[in-house]
Subunit: 226 residues, 2 copies
Amino acid sequence: MKIAVLGTGMVGQAHAGKLAKLGHQVFMGTNSVAKTKARTKIDQMSRPGIGLWLEANHNVKLATFSRAEGSADLIINALSGQVCLKILQEIKANLADKILIDISNPLDFSKGYPQFLSLSNTDSLGEQIQKALPVTNVVKAFNTTNALVQVDPQAISGADHHLFLAGNDKAAKASVIKFAKQYYGWKNVLDLGDISSARGMEMVLPLWLEVRSSLNTPNFNFKIAR
Amino acid sequence: MKIAVLGTGMVGQAHAGKLAKLGHQVFMGTNSVAKTKARTKIDQMSRPGIGLWLEANHNVKLATFSRAEGSADLIINALSGQVCLKILQEIKANLADKILIDISNPLDFSKGYPQFLSLSNTDSLGEQIQKALPVTNVVKAFNTTNALVQVDPQAISGADHHLFLAGNDKAAKASVIKFAKQYYGWKNVLDLGDISSARGMEMVLPLWLEVRSSLNTPNFNFKIAR
């Protein structure tokens, strides 16, 4: 497949790196190719800058937005919650009639410990994106667990935990479920309904952060035990 | 133990019934004993009115607030999120220096499908209750799963799922953990920190409702898979 991953952060790197290794043609979308490649320092969290990551993952092609998703079969929104709505609106035409996997979370990291942008039981980023892109099939997924687990669920409890999904288009959701199982190894997927279920998926973040703090690791996921 | 269960709904019935069967002296607190006993009809959800439930569970003693918790060793807040803060403030003196297990959820059922009263990442009902009762040890617990699972976690996956806790007093949390394991059979308890972690525990409700709708059953719980 030809896949565009929008965003160059931890989540974008996890998906782009994994998909490229699997042999897909992967484009990573960014504002400025030159500026992104120039980020070669080690960051505050001891992670190599995206420039170094791109050198190590040379099968991932960096491109500006528009070029990245222009001819992609599937688009993954791994942009930060603060900026994604604006960027997606700018490249709206390229996203028409395509599936957009939305991993964004309504978090603002600009002031240190994350603030929440828009947690509410009457709206969600997922719905805002679907409204802004009415002819794109938005499928909210992956945002309820950390980047490494998103692309390698087997790393935890033999994948005995859940991926949640929400979206208006059943065929699009079926495609994302197949994608998640086939390429990442997800075993349990729970379809929560239309895109308004992005509300619950985004509002679980405070609990996720509390559990991370309690366990002192981000390597966990929610399982629905029955 | 002498235990007061405040509230006569599904959650109050589950805890009071279970604790009385275990041999504890259980008082159920209500506004009006006469009115509560008179509720003998089958309700909209095909459940017997509390009056019928009390006849079947005659070892649970019904009492007005104040009488119920006056001499109790432990108090369980199973009141609705809409009214609990007001009622707890009225009986504040009886709750001094005691442990109050807070199961309340910020839900308003008055208009059919639940509305959320106060979901936010800067406040929670748990914190509001702790602020209103500064010399009571409030422990938020049980609110993230349904009433039957709360008192019988073994009913699902051999209790292989999580009870979350939040509260400022470590000794009080240790007591509640012991209580949950000894009397209800909980196996996995995750302490999320001080009472501000009630935020995540309350904000998971929208996801809980979505999962219930997707699975078409309330009989499930969250497990943290690692």
